[in-house]
Amino acid sequence: MSGMTAVGVSALTAFVARGEASNRVFQEMMDALPVSIYTTDAEGRLTYFNPAAVKLSGRVPQLGSDHWCVTWKIFLPDGTPLPHDQCPMAIALKGGEVPTGIECIAERPDGSRFWFTPCPAVLRDTEGRIIGGINLLVDITDRKNAEIQAQEQFRAIVETTPECVKVVAPDGTLLFMNSPGLTMIGAASAQEVTGRNVYDLIAPEDRDRFREFNESICLGEKASLEFDIVGLQGTRCHMETHAAPLRHIDGTIVQLAITRNITDRKQAERTALLLGAIVDSSDDAIISKDLTGVITSWNKSAERLFGYTADEAIGRTVANLLIPEDRQDEEPDILARLQRDERVDHFETVRRRKDGTLFDISLTISPVKNAQGTIIGASKIARDISDRKRAEAELLASEARFRQLADSMPQIVWTARPDGYLDYYNERWYEFTGFARGTYGDASWEGILHPDDVLKCRETWYDAVQSGQPYNIQYRFWNRQEGGWRWFMGRALPVRNSEGTIVKWFGCCTDFDDQKRVEDDLRRVNLDLEQFAFSASHDLQEPLRGIKLYSELLTNMYGERLDSQALEFLSYMRGGATRLEMLVRDLLSYTQVTKFEKSVEDSDAAEAVTLALANLAGIVEESGAQITTGPLPTLKVHGTHLQQLFQNLIGNAIKYRSPDRTPVVRVTSERQDGGWIFAVSDNGIGIAPEYRENIFGLFKRLHNSDEYSGTGIGLAICKRIVDRYQGRIWVESEPGRGSTFQFTLPF
């Protein structure tokens, strides 16, 4: 009777109830029906049952005594026992409303169970009193088993999938959620959440979106959504859901969704983006390739460095694209090393750009492994080192140039590190010393020095190294060719970088032995000369004095007895003696010019002029000379020297005056680069051009003593003084008009 509906069955029982129960035709019909039927009296005692009922129940009931289900154990679908007086037939006989569609489980005497739906109806007499009942039992076991199995399968699927499976009502009520889903939202059991609103579990900022989403699903659409949940514990997770409409039992459409936690996936995506950004923004070219050398990734800097775009490069092999012909064997070698899990570190080589140009490059290549640890390719970082290589080459070239220069110089040339350690000597050194190449540092030079000079040299050198001041020394080297010591001059200067730190010392040793000996001789000779001149002039003065005195006495005491000629002779004698005296004094002065050895303090030129004029007082007055001075400075020249200069020059200016006019002398000074320039100008007789040089020579006179007195040493003394201070002295003159003597002195 599977095709029969409940209504249909009720109609049949109703029909049968209206007919006569004892009608044999009907009884035969009922006996033949494959559906279980039985009838009862008003108390529920069985009055008839058909063979199908026997089959179903598993026993033959006893008419008249057995109640309808008396032998059966009946259970409700949920497994709780159903008392007999509450089963549908009992309720119907008591006059209650006939329940329909109830599903029960019955247990046979042999313990087997079956599902059935009872369809009871009551029999009434003409007065409407209940006189009995009739019940039809529909065996729904198969259907029920299928149902249960389907449910079990569903539950199994739903519970074993790792995704969340849920059913949500249009208003957001959670109708069902599987265990994985419960875990995702932080619920310990289904009770906690079933019946609650899912919107509460969703992150506040996504609630409106989810609500819209839910509503459109429940209107019949299929869709997917990404959203965040906060769950029961407040743990935020990123979710991706795929939902479809589902027709619920009561006819409404609800949302059935499979939702997965994509938090990790999202994190991985973010990390991948970050790494991608890092790779792309790196200044170094970053390239990846597989184990056959095919390029699999190519960052921006790689585009810049090689000239190929990512599209042009990916898919091509490194060997084909980048490596020049003469270096093709590098790639197999690199790949082999990668296979062995070896890194290639800062490998310097040459690669080729898209435009064909070659350039120097430094490569660092590391193997790339998959999750299992198998090497699947390589990552390569490439850096353009052309600039560095060029700088290195230039440095080598410049060092080579330096060596070439150093070896061609006649001096010994050496260099040292900033700490004073000597690290290079040129060829001259090795030629002179005969030392072996390769030794450096202090030990390498001390062996050649005079023992007395070693300590001084070391001290002076390391003083210079520390202070950074230029190094200057004189010392003796052993001359192995001829034996003996030779004087050398050592000099060194520091070389600084752009920050001012010393990076190297450059030094030079020059053989100045010959000069030194000459200098020493000269110094000694000069000293001797000075001493000689001093004592000579001293000794000469004595007899001179005698001559002068006695010729004077002679004139005074015997003058009357002498004739005019004798007197004349005497005057010549006295004149000669006087001249000689002046000469000796001037000579002494001349030799004394270089006498002052100690350092010079400042002296006032104006004061020197005043002193000089005081000494010249006699001839100034006699000649009526007018002497004017401009502003005169103080300078580092001995006062005596200044005085002598002015005294000689002003004296000359007055002495060599023109007979036609009053002598006018002007003394001026002017500041120049490096020193002062003084001028003494006069309006005297002047000097002819051809004599302007040699008037500064010793004893050079342009006039004889009749015309102008003088020793001829005055200007020589001036020149000697000026020379001592590394100055110059010269004259500009116009014969008949006057002369200007000029000289320079240091500040």
């Binding site: 003065q541 002068k548 005195l549 006495l553």
Partner: protein, 129 residues
């Protein structure tokens, strides 16, 4: 006492002293050694005379004037005599040196007669003190 080796200078000194009317006995010694001998003798013989004033030339043969002065200042009897150092040199160094050795005065020998006569005045003045 005049310690002077140059006869020319001796003459002029004598003339200068005369001109200035220096009233004293003059004795002349020609070199430093003789001078020292004189002082030694004076020390030995208490009756020997000591000079009131010594005109001492610096530049002497055998023993220099400076040595003589130094020696003299050390002698017992004549050590306190007045001394005028006389020299053709006019350097500050020499003046200092003689002063340091005990000279009372320094006279630079001039080359004119007139100047030389001043020596006489100087002697007279010193003796009168």
């Amino acid at each position: 006492m005049i310690v002077e080796d140059n006869p020319g200078d001796v003459f002029v000194i004598r003339a200068a002293l005369q001109k200035a009317s220096v009233d004293a006995e003059l004795s002349f010694v020609k070199d430093g050694e003789q001078a020292i001998k004189f002082f030694d003798e004076a020390d030995a013989d208490n009756g020997a005379p000591c000079p009131a004033l010594v005109l001492l030339d610096i530049n002497l043969p055998r023993k220099q004037g400076g040595e003589v002065l130094q020696y003299m200042r050390g002698t017992r009897r004549c050590g306190q005599a007045l001394v005028i150092a006389v020299s053709s040199s006019d350097t500050a160094m020499d003046r200092e040196k003689m002063r340091g050795l005990g000279a009372n005065c320094y006279f630079h020998k001039p080359s004119t007669y007139a100047e030389f006569l001043k020596l006489g005045e100087l002697v007279k003045e010193l003796l009168s003190r």
